[in-house]
């Protein structure tokens, strides 16, 4: 069992109450305090034969005094006393778990060698086993008064001196060291001693209720109500300290807690919240920590960290108060490791709970700014966009830091998001962004985006399943204003829908799309596009492509004529053209010598003449239509001129070895025709 050295002093009467002997030189202020506190505790006070106890701090020198005062009737004047004071270093006081060893060290002066007896420190054992005390109503009243009115002095009617000492020292020893060393008490007070000495937390007086109130006007009486639930752990611990973990908890947590008695209630609440329920009641714990705050905002660091770790385990489910606590802990933390540990989860959770608050933290300085910045970098973009749905005001600012959100259709559906933000899209992302914009129904950025988007990406975006159909049409209208881009898009070989080709056709004129080299972009597009158009649309597209083929822009006239001829012919024949389509289809048809108004005749003559005169691919002419009689009429038309017959000879040569019997029959027919 370890022991500690305790200094001592003796005060008594020698031409006035004074210090008689001391084992250590006392500072003037401490000496004055001790002089006052060692004197009789009030006029008319009559100590019992065993005296009374006074405990008080010497704050200036960091020591605590536990003193016993006896009446000294042997002295010449009434009211003289002996007081033996044990002066304990605060560090040593923390080691003591029971006051029993201290109480055993008191000695009433006797004989002549007073100076010798009190002139040297005494050794007391530090770790005796703490004794329990009975759970009485008196103890409850005292605990309630002390810790529910923490700024008031508490006074109570004195009982049997030995019992009072037992109770007060048990309460004192239960406290964590920091409170213990500031806790003042006196087991027999005859007056309010706060005037000249030290305000005592707890005083016992012989007076009854009314006298107590008049003698201790600034104190509260420990005589009201029972003990509150919050303080119940104190009672349990006082009764059976050996089987309680409360003292150890108080000792560990109280080390960095200010506020004296004020902290006891919150600490008890913390104890119950963290150790008395499974899982820990974090909401109560946080509320207790808030109550601890008082003047010292950095208190109870160890328990804060403990609560924070518990809260982090379930960051997504914790109450708002607990989450606020996490934020506060983070903001006040100066430990980078702690910041990192808490920050990773807190940042993302903060976004989930309040994107606006997240943003405020983001633009602020301090730990939370760093945490949110890190969280923003780590979060999934769809999580960010989800948070922005109802916080459009910060959408642009967030997008600056996370430009990948610009690739989300949902982002562009946020009303507050400005079209101008599209300018911040990087070149490498512009294709994906186009897809998002189309899906979101955004038209404003179309011009800028189309000009910057790779044609393959653009057609992919335009034809994506998510794209809003009406937006797509408007984008195509914009596209068509850029002829080269339109050509590039059509020439990608990635156009998959006939509807797209039709839409482009409807927004263009037949010669708009340039074809300076290679195959006609329209033709390329037609090869890959699928889908069924309604008859009228099919007729329109055929008329459009016929007009293009008969113009001078396309380098794939034969193929375009082959695509359009039969459809246009049938449309003329059946009179199914709309006025618009008919107008386009007839636009470039030649007038024959008889100025025939038969559009079928004019079509046949014009197409045949274009093949012959421009010497277009004979193979194409031979296969211009699947319709046999129509093919014969084309051959007949060509055979009308010498130039035509020469051209037909090349057609025959191109068809004679065809695998299809029908085509070979056409070659035979040409051969007969040319004989």
């Amino acid at each position: 069992m370890s022991s500690i050295l305790v200094h001592q002093a003796l005060h008594g009467y020698n031409d006035g109450h004074r210090l008689i002997s001391s084992s250590l030189p006392l500072d003037a202020i401490d000496a004055r305090f001790m002089l006052v506190m060692s004197d009789l505790s009030g006029p008319g006070v009559k100590p019992s034969p065993n005296g009374y106890l006074t405990g008080y701090p010497l704050e200036k020198s960091g020591r605590y005094v536990l003193a016993r005062t006896w009446a000294a009737p042997e002295m010449p004047r009434p009211g003289c006393v002996w007081t033996h004071s044990l002066i304990i270093e605060n560090a040593d006081l923390a080691k003591i778990t029971s006051a029993q060893t201290l109480l055993g060290a008191f000695t009433r002066p006797a004989g002549m060698n007073i100076g010798l007896a009190y002139g040297a420190p005494v050794s007391v054992s530090a770790h005796p086993y703490p004794n329990g005390i009975e759970r009485t109503e008196r103890v409850e009243l005292l605990l309630e008064a002390l810790y529910s009115s923490p700024t008031k002095q508490v006074v109570t009617e004195a009982g049997e001196p030995f019992d009072d000492e037992k109770v007060v020292t048990a309460i004192w020893m239960q406290q964590w060291p920091r409170l213990r060393r500031s806790f003042g008490f006196c087991t027999l007070s005859g007056m309010d001693r706060s005037g000249k000495g030290i305000a005592l937390d707890l005083q016992f007086a012989r007076e009854k209720d009314r006298q107590l109130r008049s003698k201790f006007p600034d104190a509260i009486l420990a005589d009201r109500g029972g003990i509150s639930d919050t303080l119940q752990p104190l009672l349990t611990d006082l009764a059976e300290p050996a089987s309680s973990t409360l003292r150890e908890f108080l000792k560990r947590i109280g080390g960095d807690v200010d506020g004296g008695r004020r902290a006891m209630r919150p600490l008890c609440e913390l104890y119950s919240s963290l150790l008395g329920s499974h899982p820990p009641d974090l909401t109560s714990a946080v509320s207790a920590l808030a109550a601890l705050n008082g003047d010292g905002r950095r208190q109870a660091r160890s328990v804060r960290t403990l609560v924070a770790r518990q809260a982090l385990k379930a960051a997504g489910q914790i109450e708002d108060e607990v989450f606020e606590f996490l934020l506060e802990t983070l903001e006040r933390s100066s430990d980078p490791a702690e910041q990192a540990e808490i920050g990773d989860r807190v940042g993302i959770e903060l976004w989930r709970r309040s994107p606006r608050r997240f943003y405020s933290a983001l633009v602020s300085e301090g730990p939370l700014g760093g945490v949110t910045s890190h969280a923003l970098a780590e979060m999934q973009s769809d999580q960010i966009v989800a948070g922005l749905q109802t916080n459009g005001q910060i959408a642009s600012a967030i997008a600056e830091r996370r430009p990948d959100v610009l690739m989300h259709p949902a982002f562009w559906r946020i009303p507050e998001v400005d079209d101008g933000l599209a300018e911040r899209i990087s070149n490498q992302d512009v294709g994906r962004a186009a897809r998002a914009l189309l899906a979101a129904g955004r038209i404003g950025p179309a011009t800028a985006i189309i000009s910057r988007t790779d044609p393959v990406d653009l057609i992919s975006a335009l034809e994506s399943a998510e794209a809003d159909p009406s937006t797509m049409l408007q984008w195509l209208a914009v596209l068509c204003r850029d002829r080269n881009k339109t050509a590039a898009v059509l020439a990608t070989g990635r156009v998959t829908r006939m509807a797209t080709i039709l839409a482009v056709a409807r927004q263009s004129r037949p010669d708009d799309v340039p074809n300076a080299c290679g195959e006609d972009p329209w033709l390329i597009a037609l090869r890959t596009a699928t889908g069924v158009l309604v008859r009228s649309d099919e007729d329109f597209l055929s008329a459009f492509l016929l007009a293009r083929a008969l113009g001078w822009e396309s380098r794939s006239q034969a193929e375009l004529l082959r695509y359009s001829f039969t459809r246009v012919y049938r449309a003329f024949e059946e009179g199914g053209f709309s006025d618009e389509a008919k107008s386009i289809a007839s636009w470039r048809l030649d007038w024959n010598a008889w100025f025939s108004s038969d559009m079928c005749v004019r079509l046949t003559e014009t197409v045949t003449r274009r093949f012959v005169e421009q010497d277009l691919a004979p193979q194409s002419f031979g296969r211009l239509t699947d319709d046999g009689p129509l093919a014969i009429s084309l051959i007949d038309e060509a055979a009308r001129t010498g130039r035509g017959r020469k051209y037909l000879e090349r057609v025959r040569m191109a068809l004679k070895d065809a695998t299809e019997a029908g085509i070979r029959a056409r070659a035979d027919y040409i051969a007969k025709k040319l004989k």
Binding site: D15, G16, D39, G42, P73, R77
Partner: protein, 286 residues
């Protein structure tokens, strides 16, 4: 028209300050007593303390020493023979505070106002005056007795070895210096326990001159601007009992048998003797 006068009672421990208060409070309120100053009625204040003191005094019980932390403000409303009313206030201070002033050169802030009073009552217990012990006198006496000069170990200095007058003179000088210096003041010097001193057959002034020569010289030659007068005072009138020790003395019984408790009081001014304890106060406030 009434006025408030601030008096202070100063004196070393056991000089009789509390007894003076007890006797004064009793006498100004005793029916039929004729005093220079008499009680004029209660003013705002707590008289519990004064009543307790007076009760002990009347019953012949020795006053409990005033605790170090026990200073009490005391206020009395008095009037003189022509009806002039005064309110006199003075605190009941423990003698240890004055001893500490001298021993440790410390002044409690709470005492500052008290000690700046323009009129002071200074009590010196005539029965416990600690005379200077001159080394030369001691050697001369030893030689005369033929026992030679004794070999003596040096004694460590201690405050309680200092002569009474050394403490008193220094205390008065302190009251006339630094923050406490308010210019000229009146000082009523009361040599208490006069019943123990009067057997010497000297007047109070002669006691002062013979037993406290340093104090006498200090006051007489006016180093500091004190206006002073000396009285002999027996506020108890004899031996009082300590009830805690179950004491019982016939002399005390005799005192209790006096028709009027105020007859125990003796105030000596030169050769004149009276029981009017208010006379020094009247002189102070005149």
């Amino acid at each position: 028209m009434s006025s408030e006068i601030h008096l202070s009672i100063v004196g070393l421990p056991s000089s009789g300050k509390t007894t003076l208060l007890a006797a004064l409070w009793h006498m100004v309120r005793e029916p039929g007593s004729i005093t220079a100053l008499s009680f004029d009625g209660l003013s705002h204040g707590n008289y519990e303390h004064l009543n307790a003191l007076a009760k002990r005094w009347r019953s012949g019980n020795i006053q409990q020493r005033t605790q170090v932390s026990g200073a009490r403000d005391v206020t009395m409303r008095l009037k003189d023979a022509v009806g002039q009313k005064v309110q006199v206030s003075f605190p009941d201070l423990p003698g240890e505070d004055f001893a500490r002033m001298w021993e440790r050169r410390e002044l409690d802030k709470g005492m500052l106002e008290t000690l700046k009073a323009p009129a002071l009552v200074l009590l010196v217990n005539g029965d416990t005056i600690k005379m200077p012990a001159w080394v030369v006198d001691r050697i001369a006496m030893s030689k005369r007795l033929g026992i030679g000069v004794p070999e003596m170990e040096p004694t460590e200095w201690s405050a309680d070895l200092a002569p009474t007058q050394v403490k008193i003179v220094d205390l008065l000088q302190m009251l006339m210096s630094g923050d406490l210096d308010i210019g000229g003041r009146r000082l009523a010097l009361l040599i208490s326990a006069w019943d123990k001193v009067e057997g010497d057959g000297l007047t109070p002034a002669e006691i002062l001159e013979s037993k406290l020569p340093l104090l006498h010289q200090y006051l007489r030659y006016g180093r500091d601007p004190w206006t002073w007068h000396v009285w002999g005072l027996s506020a108890q009138g004899g031996v009082y009992e300590d009830p805690e020790k179950n004491e019982s003395f016939p002399e005390t019984d005799k005192l209790r048998d006096l028709e009027r408790p105020s007859d125990r009081i003796k105030v000596v001014d030169g050769l004149a003797v009276s029981s009017d304890i208010t006379k020094p106060l009247q002189w102070l406030i005149s």
